[in-house]
Amino acid sequence: MTDSILDLRAVTREHGTGDALVQALRGVDLQLAPGELVAVMGPSGSGKSTLLNIAGGLDAPTSGSVRLAGTEIVGMSATALAALRRTSVGYVFQDYNLVPTLSAVENVALPLELDGVGWRDARRQGLEALDRIGLLEVADRFPDEMSGGQRQRVAIARALVGPRQLVLADEPTGALDTTTGEFVLTQLRDACDAGAAALLVTHEARYAAWADRIVYLQDGLELATQGAV
């Protein structure tokens, strides 16, 4: 499939050597087309975060191929990779990773600014993104002045701001009640309906059920895929 936004082939990832060898991924294939939301489930330690990090170029596979929007990123220079990541990929990390010295709106606008958008325009887009998730009132607060759920939603806004082709979300609903969690899924789903592709790691079936496909990992291997319905 050439029009995949994300195309992983025979991806392996090993840590350590000898007795300490950990095979975090043992040959995973995964393709994401525009508009697709794919959920990754599986027990703790099965390789979900590893898969997500490799998909976004934050970690390199031991072997295999990773194509992002048609470009092979394995072996790419660090600067070229960073530029590709900034323009094409939005991340929501397991621990949401906001910059503590930036306000909510500055955090959301950060990827745009890094990409050369002027601060005025970036701030306007940041405020719009916060408004969409109902958090305009925390725009000028710092991360330690927000609740855990608010921080998490700000992280979602940051991942979705600007023209993202691929959104990678690792347990984005962790600290959220079911209503807010569903709201986050609505946002991801809307981003996909607008043409992005998203990979969502979750251990909660209710959120995985929003996906078009559900990949189940076990011990670094894809055990089963629950296809489109």
């Binding site: 027990p43 079936a205 059920a209 189940y216 055990l223 089963a224 629950q226 319905v229």
Partner: protein, 180 residues
């Protein structure tokens, strides 16, 4: 599921005939309990016999009789809403029994049984979620909540299946040849 209480609840709002009741019942429960008109009239007959409903006297353009709720029917309905329903999980019990039997039977790959069930329940949840999105977009809160209830039940099942997968020892690898 008590069809008779559902019918009493609809009649409490206004008198109606069987066809209208059937339609409303399905709409109110999000299509969860499909009824045929025969069931509705059988139930109405039983309710009339027990004094819970009575003919309204009015007939519509098609000559169909409308029914209205009686005071006894209202009291009965009040008790139904006041008391919790006993949980009847016959399908759930079958699943639990099936998994337990699979685990106890060395000839059966219990993990496989569980993964097959898990995939099926996830598939059902995907369908329910799609229907829920449609209901949400249409602003149909009642239907949404019915679907939510089904989703919470299915979710509990998946959590239990995941728990089972984690508790069952790995399928034994190839038996070593010439074991002592």
């Amino acid at each position: 599921m008590s069809v008779s209480h559902g019918i009493l609840s609809l009649l409490e709002e206004r008198p109606q005939h069987g066809y209208g009741l059937r339609e409303q019942f399905e709409a109110a429960t999000g299509g969860t309990w499909p009824l045929n008109v025969g069931q509705v009239y059988t139930t109405l007959g039983r309710l009339e016999r027990d004094g819970m409903v009575e003919p309204d006297g009015a007939t519509d353009a098609h000559g169909r009789n409308a029914y209205r709720i009686t005071d006894d029917g209202r009291a009965q309905l009040g008790r139904w809403y006041a008391e919790p329903i006993a949980r009847d999980g016959s399908a759930r019990e079958e699943l639990v029994a099936k998994v337990a039997l699979a685990v106890a039977n060395p000839a059966v790959d219990a993990r496989r049984v569980i993964h097959v069930q898990r995939a099926e329940t996830m598939r059902a949840m995907q369908v329910l979620t799609q229907r829920k999105r449609v209901a949400s977009q249409a602003g149909d809160v009642a239907q949404r909540l019915v679907l939510d209830s089904q989703l919470f039940h299915a979710e509990a099942e998946v959590r239990w299946l995941d728990h089972c997968i984690a508790q069952i020892p790995e399928a034994p690898t190839m038996p070593t040849e010439g074991t002592t």
